[in-house]
């Protein structure tokens, strides 16, 4: 038995390129992800805005408007880059996207809102310009109201501190969760699913009608059950190690928080690897179908599963959870990433147990399916 293990491991290790890529592909992708997300979330740059004054606005008033707009800060950075110019120049700059909007300023005394905004369309920066304008107009409204109704209080109003913020940014549970963590969890799910290619290779080498090696192995005196057991175990072992390497790389090198429950992480890696390998065995044991077609089927399943778990669009899993949660309960990649989420982010052990149970159920079903396909096969002609 030990000899069977030894030779199986040796024969797998001799497929150097396949082994290398099955381990390296996820590491490369994780590095790409880390690099791509490294600059994500850099603060919004200052927004350029043109200010056009009505002819009736005097110089003191215009200087005061520009000064107060320039003073607005967000996250200790100037929010706006203000330039005062003629209407024609401002429109040209807006068309050429040199500014995001134009503030038209009229005298405060008219009773109308003193600033109105002109933009090209809707967008985050345009919305910020809108909220700045709202704030300014509202403040001016307070001044005119107090001036009319309680002029004796104007001096107190002038002392008002505009720099004070009534809003504070915070995290919810005290744990900073980066939104892009989801991509890494989905990537681990995908790495597990890609174990299907090792599983497919294993199944092919156990069938006499697929290749010469399969034919030779089928006529040995060793029982087929033993061969299947050894092949499945070795395939699982290689895949399991590659997923553990990936997890260690993501947690240790890329410093993505996967939580501190190492035991659970290893268990998820084991069950995930089993799902991948058993899926490959099931498809690989279909019989005399072209290798390209089997690869295509596995690629469809693993990529669709990864897509639905949020590998390409991180919000997709949440949308599915709201509209059709059953997909998240049967999709292997979603189960793997959800289990990792429970360990690393949510720390919900009840939900984790459900995920693990569903993964175990999938493993049993897939292995049963592949054993049924491969057992007691007799060939009249290969």
């Amino acid at each position: 038995m030990l000899q069977l293990f030894r030779y199986r491991i040796l024969s797998l290790l001799r497929e150097k390129t396949t082994i290398f890529w099955s381990i390296a592909f996820a590491l490369i992708l994780a590095t790409f992800f880390n690099f791509a997300f490294s600059g994500l979330g850099e603060d919004l740059k200052s927004i350029s805005v043109a200010v056009v004054f009505d002819e009736t606005v005097n110089q003191t008033e215009s200087e005061s408007v520009v000064k107060s707009l320039k003073q607005i800060e967000s996250k200790h950075k100037k929010l706006l880059r203000v330039k005062s110019e003629s209407e024609e120049d401002a429109k040209r700059d807006l068309k050429n996207k040199k500014v995001k909007g134009i503030y038209y300023v009229t005298p405060i005394a008219t009773g109308e809102n003193p600033i109105r905004l002109c933009v090209l369309g809707s967008g985050l920066e345009e919305s910020i310009l809108q909220s700045v304008m709202e704030s300014y107009n509202n403040q001016m409204r307070v001044y005119t109201t107090v001036m009319l109704e309680k002029p004796q209080k104007m001096s107190e109003l002038m002392k008002f501190d505009y720099g004070k913020s009534m809003v504070v940014e915070s995290t919810i549970t005290g744990k900073e969760v980066q939104s892009y963590t989801q991509y890494f969890l989905a990537l681990i799910g995908m790495a597990c699913m890609f174990g299907c290619f090792i599983g497919m290779g294993t199944a092919s080498q156990l069938q006499a009608n697929v290749g010469a090696l399969g034919a030779r192995r089928c006529i040995t005196s060793t029982s087929k059950a033993k061969l299947i057991f050894v092949d499945v175990f070795v395939a699982f072992f290689v895949q399991f190690i590659s997923v553990l390497v990936l997890m260690a790389y993501i947690k240790g090198v890329l410093k993505i928080d996967l939580g501190n429950h190492i035991g659970y992480l290893v268990l998820i890696a084991a069950l995930g690897s089993m799902i991948g390998v058993s899926l490959g065995m099931l498809v690989g044991s279909i019989g005399k179908v072209k290798e390209g077609a089997k690869i295509g089927i596995l690629l469809t399943i693993s990529l669709t599963s990864s897509f639905l778990s949020g590998l390409m669009v991180s919000s997709i899993k949440g949308t599915i959870e709201q509209n059709c949660p059953i997909i998240n309960r049967i999709n292997p990649s979603s189960l793997i990433s959800d289990a990792l989420y429970c360990v690393g982010v949510y720390e919900d052990m009840g939900r984790l147990q459900v995920d693990l149970l569903l993964m175990l159920l999938l493993v049993v079903l897939l292995y049963l399916g592949s054993f049924v396909m491969m057992r007691r096969v007799r060939y009249d002609n290969i």
């Binding site: 490369i28 791509a36 600059g39 913020s165 809003v167 969760v177 295509g296 669009v313 919000s315």
Partner: protein, 383 residues
């Protein structure tokens, strides 16, 4: 044309698999485009955020604040279950969580009663909401400083006139998302895995030892073999290109073929397809087995797409990432596509930038083909 016919024969014998590959990547790129589109549309209309509020104060001022925010956003008052809200935030089902503390509005110095705001990390929408909340609460404080009671202030806020916003007309520019833009941005993720997988499958046949030996002693020169191989690839590439145009036309509900900038879009996508063919040719000669193609193509295509603005818009990527991405052809495709998406008609200075982007992609293609031909020559000499 023996080599060309040979390739076509392999294509015919694998036609079902090729169709399957086309279908897989069409489906995934369409779904991804639809997924990013809905997220992007939400982001580009930031004046309508989904805000979940935990109101622990439940006083008149907190209600007035929620009413004020409700004029611009979709505001829902939630139970005080913060972990559940964190999960919804994590999956982008809500944009912001707002916590109003018990002391809200009772402390005149606003030291204790500050509103807590939590956004998705890396998002910038909180900045916009902060402006609005501060603006409204400053108004309350100003009135209170002038001697008005809180009830009087709330009354005054009710009847306030909203500020005026206009859109610049007769503009060549376009600030809104066009129906076909997300799918066009997804094109590299459609072409690269599909063409590399299919061509890898075909080239794997030519990597067989006996086939290589037969071809190396044939009277057809290596140059001719490569040219005919590239022509065969071109047939497949054009097929995929036409298919992608059909998919974009379908998704955009028939508007794509009527786009004013259609010739530029066609040129950009066609050149991207040529670049992909050269990449597929390069990967194809490196691998010996079809299964290895997917192992290489999957991280390669996903990685390229992540750092070159396909899945995450270029405008959101960090400066360092963009500096590196400039050395990759997909970046120039995305950049050109984004430029085209920004305009209805192209001003002269932008036309130059568009052709520059397309030209750089062609240079990449020529370089990749050059390296691949050199590699094939070296390999033949090694044998």
């Amino acid at each position: 044309m023996t080599i060309f016919n040979g390739y076509m024969k392999i294509v015919r014998s694998n036609i079902n698999i090729i169709i399957m590959y086309f279908m897989i990547f069409t489906m995934i790129s369409v779904l991804t485009a639809q997924g990013t589109k809905s997220r992007e549309e939400k982001q580009y209309t930031a004046n309508s955020l989904d805000i979940a509020v935990v109101d622990r104060a439940e006083n008149d001022l907190s209600k007035a604040l929620l009413e004020y925010l409700g004029q611009f956003h979709h505001v829902t008052v939630e139970e005080d279950r913060m972990e559940e809200l964190q999960e919804r935030l994590y999956y982008y089902n809500i944009d912001i969580v707002l916590q109003i503390p018990k002391e809200f509005g009772t402390d005149r110095d606003w030291k204790k009663g500050k509103v807590k705001i939590t956004e998705v990390p890396g998002d910038s929408t909180a900045m916009y909401l902060q402006q609005q909340i501060n603006g409204m609460l400053q108004q309350v404080q100003q009135y209170e400083a002038a001697g008005y009671s809180q009830a009087e202030v709330i009354e005054k806020l009710h009847g306030q006139k909203q500020s005026e916003i206009s859109i610049l007309k007769d503009s060549e520019s376009n600030a809104n998302v066009k129906g076909y833009t997300p799918m066009l941005r997804m094109i590299p993720y459609f072409y690269i895995p599909a063409l590399c997988s299919i061509l890898g499958l075909i080239l794997a046949v030519f990597q067989r030892k006996d086939m290589k030996q037969r071809m190396s002693i044939s009277s057809i020169s290596l140059w001719r073999q490569n040219v005919e191989a590239l022509m065969a690839f071109l047939v497949l590439g054009v097929g995929l290109w036409l298919l992608s145009l059909g998919v974009i036309q379908y998704i955009s509900k028939g508007t794509f073929f009527h786009a004013q900038l259609l010739p530029y879009y066609l040129a950009n996508t066609f050149v991207m397809m040529l670049v992909t063919l050269s990449l597929a040719f390069f990967i194809g000669i490196l691998v010996k087995k079809a299964v290895q193609v997917n192992m290489i193509v999957t991280p390669f295509s996903l990685g390229l797409c992540f750092i070159c603005g396909v899945f995450v818009p270029l405008s959101l990527l960090g400066e360092q990432v963009k500096r590196v991405a400039q050395f990759l052809p997909v970046y120039w495709y995305s950049k050109t596509n984004d430029l085209l998406g920004d305009y209805q008609t192209l001003p002269a200075n932008i036309q130059g930038k568009v052709w520059q982007g397309i030209g750089i992609q062609l240079v990449f293609m020529a370089a990749i083909i050059g390296v691949t031909l050199m590699l094939t020559k070296m390999r033949q000499q090694e044998r």
